[in-house]
Amino acid sequence: MAAGIGTAQGTSRTFQPMRLWLIAPSWLIIGFFLLIPVLVMLLFSFLTKEFRGGVIWEFSLAAYDQFLFDRGLFGDDPATLEWTYIRIFVRSIVQAAVATLLCLLIGFPTAFFIATRSPDSRSVWLFLVTVPYWVNLLIRTMSMKFLIRDNGPVNELLLALGVIDTPIAMINTDFAVQLGLFYSYLPFMVLPIYAAVERYDFSLSEAAADLYADRWTILFRVLLPVVRPGIIAGCILVFVPSLGAFLAPDLLGGAKNFMIGSLIEEQFKGNAGNWPFGAACAMILLTMVLGALIIYARQHRPAAGN
């Protein structure tokens, strides 16, 4: 046995140079698809805008200045704090947060339900969760629109049942956007939580019950702390893409109010095209998300020291 371990260590030493080559593809992918694009974005955000799209290779802080300071419609009033973009960012964060909360409220019981079925039927339930996601996101968002429009099936049903007298205005509202985001990203919440609950040892719950814990205490003081990493992973996976979404705001929200995603899109596809400002908005968003994740990781690093 000891010889076996010795051999294994020897093997890993032999393969030390090899290891570098084996991880090289992942570094290449990260470098090529993540680092280089982010660096290009960072660079562009500090360049001078060219009228109707493109950049002039001169250093400029104009993009960040535009984000922070309001100089009136004509750009020559005294500078005051610019609320426009802050409002757009706050709106996006609120929409994404509500969508995440909805996903959590529905996703957690769903994941719990699936994880407590017999092992055979779990795969069927998981399969059912993923079925809608075989269809393109655009199509799914459009069909949501058909469901909740003024004379769509939801309103028709409620009218027929006599629950309401006039159709509920759901389309082109914030609620529609939240609903669309919720529907788009629900499996991202269900799957990580399922993975965590599946590994949960239910004898812990029994032990807690033996110690006179009631059901709520077991849920909040035993189950939730144990599966928390899954919940956090699910929340991040839903919140981050929701923050940058522009399909749901466009199709369900009526494109009346910019979200971060549509604001950025407008800088590249809009009339005058302001690429540095688009890049700056993307950088600010990226910094915010990264910052939040780092703070979270700091506060909740594995409690090995305790």
């Binding site: 009228f51 109707r52 799209g53 493109g54 419609l73 004509f74 750009g75 426009t84 973009y85 409002r87 757009i88 429009r149 003024d150 004379n151 389309i171 082109n172 466009d250 199709l251 009526g254 494109a255 009346k256 109010n257 910019f258 549509s262 604001l263 407008e266 590249f268 596809k269 809009g270 009339n271 005058a272 095209g273 302001n274």
Partner: protein, 345 residues
């Protein structure tokens, strides 16, 4: 069995590749979505013996951004709207068509031969033209609709039921017509008035949607929709009880054009394609499909009967003359952009 299934698609690919390999060359088109019948592309491919590929865009600005981001040199022809031809010309993104290169240039209708956005038609040929206005659901409102008040100061029953095109140029022009101010004005009072008009108007608007402009009218989501004339005709054909308005304050006209792009990889085929589209039967095929108007002579006898009589194609005698969206200078365009962003903040 599995093996057979795996091999078969490969065999088909091989056949297709060998089939197209014998073609003379290629033509790469960058076009609007849903704007050319597939049969017409097939017809050109067969006639010229070339392989035709097409990518589509959904706004002039999206096309400009794509070309600027490095796609210039990979397409042969594109189909920009009037003002975008001027912008692309100013940016040096267009190649010139020499005199005599287009055998069918004489087919272009006289009024579209010398246009302000491309004097002398050096880079472009007409594709289709039409107008932009708005349509009103006659079940929802029976009053006078030939006024832009319907959009900016709507009667009670239409409030909150209006869809706008998500198109800065056309919305700004309609608003300028409503106020009776020139386009691209640099007068600060007028620009402020424009800003206030849009802010006030937004309270009555349900959504901004261009590609769904027809569907919201057909489904009844919107009772008023800013829309292009051919799209409105299609909405009516699909059952919407709508009427296309010719507002007294002014009528927006536009023309899409086929342009020869700079550094076109297949320039000779691009010229062939432009010549092909100038033949009346082909221009008529596009018009029958898109329901706008061709800028080519000899088309009228080849059109579907309803096209020559439908109200979306035939303005009333007292309709105002059409106005093109103008290209603003940088200073004014930046104010326009600021107004647009404030509108959507």
């Amino acid at each position: 069995m599995l093996k057979f299934l795996r091999i078969e698609p490969l065999a088909i690919v091989a056949m297709v590749v060998s089939g197209t390999a014998s073609a003379e060359g290629k033509l790469s088109i960058y076009h609007w979505f849903e704007y050319i019948p597939q049969e017409l592309l097939d017809k050109f491919a067969a006639e010229a013996g070339v392989e035709v590929t097409m990518d589509t865009f959904d706004s002039n600005e999206a096309m400009l951004a794509t070309l600027k981001a490095g796609k210039l040199g990979s397409y042969d022809v594109a189909v920009p709207g009037d003002y975008m031809v001027e912008i692309m010309r100013n940016e040096g993104m267009l190649d010139s068509v020499a005199e005599g290169e287009l055998a069918n240039k004489g087919n272009i209708e006289a009024q579209w031969l010398d246009v302000p956005f491309d004097p002398g038609r050096m880079h472009s040929i007409p594709y289709q033209w039409g107008s932009t206005s708005f349509s009103v659901n006659r079940d929802a409102y029976s009053g006078d609709i030939r006024t832009t008040d319907i959009i900016f100061n709507p009667p009670e029953e239409l409030r909150g039921r209006i869809n706008m095109l998500d198109s800065q140029g056309e919305v700004m022009l309609l608003a300028s017509m409503h106020l009776g101010i020139p386009q691209c004005t640099d007068d600060r009072e007028q620009l402020r008035a424009l800003d206030e008009l849009l802010q006030a108007g937004k309270l009555h608007w349900a959504s901004f949607n261009s590609d769904g402009a027809k569907d919201v009218l057909v489904s009844g989501d919107a009772a008023v929709g800013m829309i292009w004339n051919g799209f409105s005709a299609k909405a009516r054909a699909e059952g919407a009880n709508i009427e296309y308005s010719y507002p007294r304050e002014g009528l927006i006209v536009w023309m899409d054009n086929v342009v020869l792009l700079k550094d076109a990889p297949n320039r000779a085929n691009a010229i062939k394609f432009m010549d092909f589209l100038l033949r009346p039967e082909n221009a008529a095929a596009v018009t029958n499909f898109a329901q706008y108007s061709a800028g080519v002579m000899g088309v009228s006898g080849l059109l579907d009967a309803r096209l020559s009589s439908q109200p979306e194609s035939v303005p009333p005698a007292d309709a105002p003359a059409g106005t093109f969206v103008q290209v603003c200078d940088q200073a004014t365009q930046e104010v326009y952009d600021a107004i647009w962003t404030r509108l959507k903040k």
